[in-house]
Amino acid sequence: MNQSLQDYLFERILNTFPKRSAAVEALGKLMGLGKDAVYRRLRGHTLLSLDELAALAREFKVSLDDYLFSRADSVVFSYSSFSQTISSYRDYLDSVSRNIERIYLLPEKHFYYATSEIPLFHYCHFPEVIGFKLYVWARTIWSVPKIKEQAFHFDLLSQEDQRITSELLNMYNDIPSTELWHLNIVDNTLNQIEYHVNIGGFQRPEDALVLCDRLLELCEHIRKMAAFGHKYRMGGEPQATATRTFDLFHNEMVFTNNNFLAVTPVGKVIFTTYCNPNFLKCTDERMCNFTEDWFKNITSKSIAISNHAEKNRSWYFNTLHRKIERVRTRISNQVEEGF
């Protein structure tokens, strides 16, 4: 290996700048050095101290292991759970809002979403449903102490939390999206509702039936949005604007994690759920392009169910409807028996 570690690091850093002079300026600022001193380090006439080396790798997110072990396949991710411990619903909602707002404020953005579970934003149509999902995650994934000890009830979601979820929904509705959904899109939520009925996890067991009713209403609303080809709020007036397009596909063939790609004029970003609903985030250009191609590939093998595709849409949503009704009937019997 002829290239030194220092040369390798600088090469990776310089590649992130359009012009060498811009890189020199940024490096000088970061290291508190004049331009001459930066150039001496770039030429290898002055060696970097290890602290400088570590600081630069950290700042520019360069993997030194790629150099050491001759790897070319590393991708840098950041993990929401490491940057912030979730100790309340608000912590999680704020972190999602921050990420979505950055995209929302840009012009000409587009979301691609491949998922086996209804995307979080749709749950925000109903405080009861998003409240239940947050409760489940707080109990099982984040282990939030004050939630772990309580049975579920609708008042656990505060007014302020509801305001944030409502804003999240507004932002999401204003970003055109292409979504690839599996047929088992409601299964996990239905399993969670039944699980909580079985363990006595509802303060009022009848609330489980309210959740099933809300899911039915939600599916009906999503069916209407798909038919119209645009997103809008429940009970609101649909508007055919370019910023609100909603292209929904039934992906029956390719198993996917919950993957989300945002394409914007300033770059692309991937979010993939990991220990759902926590997420990994990646802005690596190669990874984003690979994922965009993957989306196009899967979309070409999926069935369009928005706009004109009435037959496929009806079959898809009727199937979801039947799944929810079946679970509702089972829960209703349990509630009547005083289970």
Binding site: S4, L53, S78, N259, N276
Partner: protein, 338 residues
């Protein structure tokens, strides 16, 4: 304030030796400097040069990324689609074998696997099933041009590739494993069969029905392994067979990606699918340890269906078989064979 990289690296190296003097001797040989000079570096009186840093990290196989990014939310995955390029099935499968062999060398470690679809390893029990999976991945996701125009038949995957899958199966059987399966674990494979029937992608449509037979036989075999709490080959005597333990849980509550966690020489290694069937890999101790905690939390909320709990096990596998039978009936109607 980030700890000093030089002292972190040298502490890591010294901790691997029973005596400090042994470490000093080894470092002096690698850097080709006298022992006094090594001690000066250990005390921080002399700073390591970047080239010395890389020589030591490489010689002792220490991840500098783990030291540098320890206190941030950033970590690195490697992505198999970028490393091997998966130009052939051999490439793709060899990636699995390499990883499994590393895990196999750590006999006391558990191989954790959480999945929302039938884990690849179980399809290895039947050449027909793994052939079908490889065909559709090769055609749709690994993008092998030669498969795009070919319809599926059982001879499409050559015998030498099937021998590689047999080797994978033998290693998998040896590994002690904990698996968390969601209720929809079979749905995806059934969807794939139905999709290929609907698009006329079977050379002989009766082969699709053979896949249903194999899936049903597989469900019985996995149920048997769960009953005995151990893995063994098809048709083996469960009492006498030598295989890793098999703890199966029905995870009905927590949505999961396809995720595996295994012990290796360097600690633990984590895999998760992204752009299925491609996968990401990380040995970062922070994410591995986080995931081990996650596995344990989800196990707590799941129903154990191996060894004891016969009633739950019967219910779980009967439900899988009902789904297979239901899909089969639907497809027989589609093929006009009913």
């Amino acid at each position: 304030m980030h700890p000093d990289l030089q002292s972190q690296l040298l502490e890591e190296i010294v901790s691997r030796y029973p005596r400090k003097s042994d470490a000093v001797e080894e470092i002096s040989e690698i850097l080709k400097i006298a022992k006094d000079a090594v001690y000066r570096r250990l005390r921080g009186d002399t700073l390591l040069a970047p080239s010395e840093l890389s020589d030591l990290a490489r010689a002792f196989n220490v991840s500098l990324d783990a030291l540098i990014f320890e206190q941030s939310n950033t970590f690195f995955f490697t992505y198999n689609a970028f490393s091997v390029g998966a130009a052939s099935f051999e490439d793709y499968l060899q990636g699995f074998i390499n990883e499994l062999e590393m895990a196999q060398q750590q006999p006391l470690q558990q191989f954790y696997y959480a999945s929302a679809e039938l884990p690849l390893f179980h399809t290895l029990f039947f050449p027909e099933l793994i052939s079908f999976k490889l065909y559709l991945w090769g055609r749709t996701l690994l993008d092998f041009d030669y498969l795009k125009e070919l319809k599926f038949d059982f001879r499409i995957i050559p015998p030498d590739i099937l021998r590689v899958t047999e080797r994978m199966l033998r290693i998998y059987i040896d590994l002690p494993g904990v698996e968390l399966w969601s209720p929809s674990v079979i749905d995806h494979t059934l969807n794939e069969i139905e999709y290929h029937i609907s698009t006329g992608s079977f050379q002989q449509p009766k082969d699709a029905l053979m896949l249903y037979d194999k899936l049903e036989a597989l469900s019985h075999h996995i149920q048997k392994m769960a009953r005995y709490g151990k893995k063994f080959p098809l048709n083996a005597d469960p009492e006498g067979a030598v295989g890793g333990s098999f703890q199966l849980f029905h995870n009905e509550m927590v949505y999961t990606n396809n995720t595996a966690l295994a012990g290796i020489k360097e600690g633990q290694v984590l895999f998760t699918t992204l752009g299925n069937p491609n996968f990401m890999r990380s040995t970062d101790p922070r994410i591995c340890s986080y995931m081990e905690g996650w596995f344990k939390r989800v196990m707590n909320k799941s129903v154990p269906i191996s060894e004891h709990n016969e009633r739950d096990r019967e219910w779980f596998f009967n439900r899988i078989r009902k789904k297979i039978a239901f899909s089969r009936r639907r497809m027989e109607v589609e093929l006009g064979w009913e």
